[in-house]
């Protein structure tokens, strides 16, 4: 049976074991119809021109893994932030692990989406927010909605700063050789509140796991959301990340995406502006090798005046790895005084590595500042000569310069231990033995 058929046919079984939240159920049924109609995207669709899912969807996946896998904390400790306290929402093979998690309802809510679906006190919020930001005709997001049951639920009430960062961690253990996961996160940050969130998908042994994730983020007036996606999975793991961000007046939502591994990663990062004086920051650093494939697909929808967006993506591609950057900026007629910047800079280390970069600016307002730039290059010989003249051999000099190229994406990381950790990972990925603590 084809995967699409399997996903459609399994929905009844899913419904039987799921909650009966009416609002959610209606959305699920409607979304399943969208997926049924559209199916998996193919390369015939412009937005999927350079990324093919065909090899992924040929396989047969376990959709409902068993509930009994335990993982010892010491085995996964290294994936969490060291030295600082965090809230943790941890999933093993898509199933919540209360032993590994550290949630709260003290002032703010950091808990499970299933809990929010099932408890009547959350009904209003679910009704108000669930699936509201998702672009309705996207088949993969619809597929996720059809099966939306579990994930992180974060609610920061007005005038509150979450003192601890929140880690959303998805581990897969490989007990199911092939596994299809569809986590769903709902994040609401009310007026004048702040939160830092780190999201990570990690397989603990190399196996065919595909994660089709949807995250909705609602940032109300004056809210500050600082979000980090760590994509450094094992070779056989694939990720389709659909993130939808609704921003209101004076809010700032920043998303850093660090992509250092995995088989195929597709990031659909969508921003919608619903008020004035909004700031949106999108930063990405990609370091890939072998036959790894990444596709960054961004959309910033400027629909109100006086807003800013900054996109800065850097990529370093070795071996036969492939990168795609497809950045769309849409400026509505009413969105005067928009400042929208987009930059995609790439280094191809090997001849067989490729990058397809496609900026799309659709501007309907006349008083705006929009710019985009894209570079694809190799390292400059003159610059290399400077390092070599100091006795640093060519290979090390190249690694050091590549490290320097990547480094500026790190500057805006607000969590120091995370910055240090990523810095170490960059050095490791690039094979830079800097001989000092970073």
């Amino acid at each position: 049976m084809e995967l699409k058929e399997k996903l459609l046919n399994s929905h009844l079984a899913f419904e039987e074991q799921s909650d009966v939240n009416e609002v959610v159920q209606t959305q699920r049924i409607n979304s399943l119809k969208v997926f049924q109609e559209k199916g998996f995207p193919t390369k015939k669709i412009e937005a999927w021109k350079y990324t093919s899912l065909s090899s992924l969807i040929k396989k047969d996946y376990v959709l409902f893994p068993k509930n009994d896998t335990q993982v010892e904390f010491k085995k996964i400790k290294k994936y969490f932030l060291p030295d600082i306290e965090t809230f943790k929402i941890v999933f093993i093979n898509g199933i919540y692990s209360p032993f590994l998690s550290d949630t709260t309802h003290d002032g703010l809510d950091v808990c499970l989406l299933s809990a929010a679906f099932n408890q009547s006190k959350y009904n209003e919020i679910i009704k108000k927010y669930f699936n509201k930001s998702v672009i309705k005709d996207e088949s993969l997001a619809s597929l996720n909605t059809a099966y939306a049951r579990e994930g992180a639920y974060i609610f920061i009430p007005k005038n509150m700063v979450s003192e601890k960062p929140i880690e959303i961690m998805h581990f897969s253990t490989g007990e199911q050789k092939t596994l299809w996961l569809q986590p769903r996160n709902l994040i609401i940050v009310e007026k004048n509140s702040q939160v830092q969130i780190i999201e990570r998908h990690q397989s603990l042994v190399d196996h065919d796991v595909v994660t089709n994730s949807v995250t909705e983020i609602y940032a109300h007036n004056d809210a500050l959301v600082d979000y980090y996606k760590i994509q450094n999975d094992l070779d056989s793991a694939s990720l389709i990340d659909n993130t939808y961000i609704d921003q209101e007046k004076n809010s700032h939502v920043s998303v850093h995406t660090f992509s250092f591994g995995g088989n195929l990663v597709r990031n659909n990062l969508n921003y919608l502006h619903k008020g004035e004086h909004i700031m949106s920051t999108l930063k990405g650093l990609t370091i890939l090798k072998d036959k790894q494939h990444i596709d960054h697909n961004t959309l910033v929808n400027h629909s109100k005046p006086n807003c800013e967006s900054h996109q800065d993506y850097k990529g370093i591609f070795s071996d036969q790895s492939k990168g795609v950057f497809n950045g769309k900026i849409f400026v509505h007629k009413t969105a005067q005084k928009t400042n929208a910047f987009q930059q995609s800079n790439n280094i191809l280390i090997d001849d067989k590595a490729t990058i397809n970069s496609k900026p799309q600016l659709e501007i309907f307002a006349d008083d705006v500042k929009c710019s985009h730039g894209c570079t694809i290059g190799q390292l400059n010989e003159e610059t290399l000569f400077y390092l070599r003249s100091r006795g640093i051999p060519r290979k090390e000099a190249k690694a050091l310069l590549t490290y320097a190229f990547a480094n500026n994406i790190l500057q805006s990381v607000q969590i120091n231990v995370l910055k240090k950790r990523i810095n170490e990972q960059i050095a490791e990925k690039l094979g830079v033995d800097l001989g000092f603590d970073l």
């Binding site: 000569f385 003249s389 100091r390 006795g391 500026n408």
Partner: protein, 249 residues
């Protein structure tokens, strides 16, 4: 220490150096002066091993050893240092970490283990003091956002740390105000000794007010057309380069 014989070099097929001869002994300071386009910077780059330039004829010997086929890094390991006119910015790598990497690369090439951290720190402090460098400066990213003066001072700091046998200062005075110039010159003077040598490449005489050269050479059309003592520099300053051109014509 350095012997250059009949050096010819081209870039993109264009001939820049047309037979340079130069002999620099230990303990000496040589100034190479000349108008724009005379080949000064090419000469320093060729000695340091920049592969953009093709050496078509001649020889370069360092302490009797032929270096013309060596890579830039290998020449650095043998004790050649070049201070750049436009040093490269390396975001995210501090001055200290860069210099550690450079020193340990040279040590590795010589079969030595990494320098002990304590020893490195001591040396860094010592040289920073010598060049009047605030240690805060050393934790900044290499050359990123540095002023012209800071960049040049940082070049001389690297020179101090690497302790080269032969240092080539390429237009080190350009873009420096008088205070920065004095600090840089003072640093170079402190690093001079009987076992090393310095070649100063410069358009103007003003750096030579602070670093006194033993010999001054004038480069014109890729050849050394006149050599003399310090007085030659003063004469050039007073009369300009046209005088030399007229003289050889």
């Amino acid at each position: 220490m350095l012997t250059i014989e009949n050096l010819h070099a081209t870039v993109d097929g264009k001939s820049i150096l047309n037979g340079v001869d130069l002999d620099v002994k230990s303990g000496e300071v040589h100034a190479i002066m000349g108008p724009n386009g005379s080949g000064k910077s090419t000469l320093s780059s060729v000695i340091a091993g920049n592969e953009i330039y093709e050496m078509t004829e001649g020889n370069i010997l360092l302490n009797g050893e032929e270096i013309k086929d060596m890579d830039a890094e290998e020449r650095a390991h043998k004790g050649i240092f070049m201070s750049f006119q436009y040093p490269v910015e390396i975001p995210g790598v501090s001055v200290t970490n860069f210099i550690k990497t450079a020193i340990n690369s040279s040590r590795k090439a010589q079969g030595l283990s990494d320098m002990l951290a304590s020893e490195m720190l001591k040396k860094i402090r010592e040289k920073a003091e010598l060049l009047e460098i605030d240690t805060k400066f050393l934790s900044r990213s290499l050359n990123e956002g540095f002023s012209g003066g800071e960049k040049k001072r940082n070049e001389i700091f690297q020179m101090a740390m690497l302790e080269p046998k032969l240092s080539i200062l390429d237009e080190t005075d350009s873009g420096l105000d008088i205070d920065a110039l004095k600090i840089v010159a003072n640093g170079v003077n402190k690093l001079r000794n009987n076992n090393n040598a310095v070649i100063i490449i410069t358009h103007y005489q003003r750096l030579l007010n602070y670093i006194s050269p033993d010999f001054v050479h004038v480069l014109h059309d890729g050849k050394i057309v006149k050599s003399g003592t310090k007085d030659l520099a003063h004469e050039l300053e007073a009369k300009g380069y046209d005088w030399i051109k007229d003289d050889i014509d």
